[in-house]
Structure formats: structure tokens, C-alpha cells
Symmetry: C2
Subunit: 215 residues, 2 copies
């Protein structure tokens, strides 16, 4: 499959590397076509890897992974034009983190709204599925790095898009447990969970932890 990975940070590279390993064609998108990190990644990742602008990547991808900072997510997703994402599944991994006051971050939207909802409202014909935003980058594509049962969370308004993403999470990335939190407003609770995740990280000194909903 032709897949866009938006963002050149730890999340983007972890996702892109895994997709290449699975045999997919991946274009990593960045703000400029000659982004150094994206170029180096594409060079090292082999013949199925390429890089370009965010707009290039969105046009290329049949499926889009949003791995940019939450603060720029809507701008980046709109860079291929208002209709550039129409009909496409967007796996939104971004979080509305505000680091302006240092650690721990706060959220620039929360409680009665969320970044996932803002993105879905901004691109009403895109099929936004919020997932993976609650997990450290290497664990996203290798859940066995954390021992024991633990969950990846998913939410979105489009049931068939969620079914496809659930399949990706299970069969491409190896997740055994995908917890469906309903429509895209579930982003309110998964994005808020990230502050909990950060707190655990600050206390334990490690990002290698996750959540299990026990029921």
C-alpha cells in the first residue's frame, strides 16, 4: 500500500520504518521537500521509501499517519488543500501538548473538546481514527516491548475506517488488545491520558509503560 507518514520525529520514523519492513511504499512528509531528516530516512530505508512535502505525501498516500506535533496538525493536514484528505483514512497520533511552561506539559484543548475532534471538524470528509497517541514510539509498532497484557485505544466516527485501523494495529503492528472508545470524542479521554502517561514517565524515569483496562 502507498502510505503517507507526516512528520520526521521519533513517532514518524518508528511508524515509517515498520511500514517499510512490512513491504509498503512510504513517503515521509515534511515542511519542505528537502528536509534533511526525511531525506536521510528515505535514503537509508531503501527503494520503497521516499520523501517530500506534507502535501506531496498526502497526495501519495492511500492511508495517512499524522505524526506531527499537535500544535501544527491542522495546518499540516490542510497543506494538500481543503479536500486533499477526502475519503482517506487518517490515523491521528498527535497530541494537543503545550510545552510553553516546560515539563510536565499541559493540553491546549481538553475536557469538552479535543484535537481529534478539531481535526475531524476541519476535514469533515476525511476518515479520522485517533489511535497510538498514548504509547511510546517504539512500542507503537512493537507492543511486546512491554511485558504483560496492555491496550491500544482507538476512536473515530467512521466504523469501517476503525475496522481497517484495528486490522492494521493487530496484523501489522502486533497489538493483541484494541479497545474501541466509540466516536471521535473519545479523543478527549485518550489525549488527557497522555498527561497521566507523562506523569508515570517522570516518576519511573522510563517511557516503557502502558495502560490495561481491566474489566
Amino acid at each position: 500500500m502507498k502510505i503517507a507518514v507526516l512528520g520526521t520525529g521519533g513517532v514518524g520514523v518508528a511508524i515509517a520504518d515498520k511500514l517499510i519492513a512490512l513491504g509498503h511504499h512510504v513517503m515521509m512528509g515534511a515542511r519542505v521537500a528537502r528536509n534533511e531528516k526525511a531525506g536521510e530516512w528515505a535514503k537509508s530505508a531503501g527503494g520503497n521509501a521516499s520523501n517530500g512535502t506534507f502535501a506531496d505525501a498526502i497526495h501519495f498516500g492511500e492511508l495517512v499517519f499524522n505524526c506531527v506535533l499537535g500544535a501544527v496538525a491542522i495546518e499540516v493536514l490542510g497543506s494538500a488543500g481543503a479536500n486533499g484528505l477526502d475519503g482517506k483514512i487518517v490515523i491521528d497520533i498527535s497530541n494537543p501538548l503545550d510545552f510553553s511552561k516546560g515539563m510536565p506539559p499541559s493540553l491546549f484543548v481538553c475536557n469538552t473538546d479535543s484535537l481529534g475532534e478539531m481535526i475531524q471538524r476541519a476535514f469533515p470528509k476525511a476518515r479520522i481514527v485517533k489511535s497510538l497517541n498514548t504509547i511510546a514510539a517504539p512500542v507503537m509498532v512493537n507492543p511486546a516491548m512491554i511485558q504483560g497484557d496492555h491496550d491500544v485505544l482507538i476512536c473515530g466516527d467512521d466504523a469501517s475506517a476503525k475496522a481497517e485501523v484495528t486490522d492494521i494495529l493487530k496484523n501489522w503492528f502486533g497489538w493483541k488488545s484494541v479497545v474501541d472508545l466509540g466516536d471521535i470524542s473519545g479523543s478527549r479521554v485518550t489525549e488527557a491520558w497522555v498527561l497521566f502517561w507523562v506523569r508515570i514517565m517522570m516518576i519511573t524515569g522510563s517511557p516503557m509503560h502502558n495502560i490495561k483496562v481491566v474489566r
Copy 2:
């Protein structure tokens, strides 16, 4: 021990019943001395049970369980006077839930502040320990009702108070795993978790679930 339980709802009754079963002397506090629910509880719970106003209960208790609605918590805790809680451990189970727009609730304070912190600021000489606010009332005092490993969360500024409350959670209530989230600002993440808890409840139709931090 002489213990105050503030509140006559499901949480107050679950906690008070358990404390009586453990042999403690419990006064259930309510807005008025002749509160019907508190009176009925005291009558049915035997000789170690009594009831009175919130102020009566606070004066009575060597230890205080705050089981009232978040919206009135500071008013209730202040009803014994500004210094009524000085030196006392207050186990704060309240959540800053706003039901004014129906279900699911939102939070009236979150992200960069929390009810736990507001209470600690309002009563600086009280030893506030936030805990149990993330769990259904019957499970608070009987964690084995949910099968498998799961956690109770705790935070607070006073280390010795947290140690005492940890002992209570483990040895009185039966919790095997108490996760310490640090100072009282940990309330931001445990109170926000409650929205996640509500979402799971609305999806599964059951309050019988909890969290496990897997690491």
C-alpha cells in the same frame, strides 16, 4: 479509630460500612444533623456508627474520608472552621464533575489545576491524600470484585500521610497495588482519568472496571 465519612451517597455508605465492619467508630456527616439517609445508616450499622453535621463529623474524626460531590467539597470541608482539619489526614475521593450538560460529565477544573490541589490550598495544614476517586464505590473497599491485577492511585504532598493511607488501602481495603503519583498535582491526571472511566462505563454498560499501569 474514630473516623469521619463526609457524604451519604454510594461512596460514603460503601466506605462507612467497610470501616464499621473493620471495628472502627464512624460518624457519617451530612449537611444537617437530622439527615435521613445518614440517620438510617447509623441506625442499621450498629453501636459504633453515628451521624451528625459535616462539622460534627470532622471534629469527631481522627481521619476524614471526603465522599461528597466535588462541587461542594471545599465548602463541606470548611464547615468545621478554617482550622478544623489542621493536622488531619483527609482521603479525598471527590471528583470535579460537572453534570450541567448531562452525560458524559465534564470537569469544572482540569489540566493546569485540580480539585485535589484546590482543597490542599484551601486547607494548607490538612494532609490531603487523593485516592479511590477512580474506582466504583463497591470496588473501593473490595478490589477483588474485579478480577486480575489492577491499581489504586494515590497522590499527596505529605509523605507520611501517604504512607498511612497506603497502609489503609492495602491492609483495610485489600488493595494489592497502590501506585504513587507523587505530589497532590497528580490529582490532575487521576481526576481526568474519571472521564475515561465514565466513557468505558458508557460503552460496556458496567462500572466494574479499573486501570492497570503496565510497566
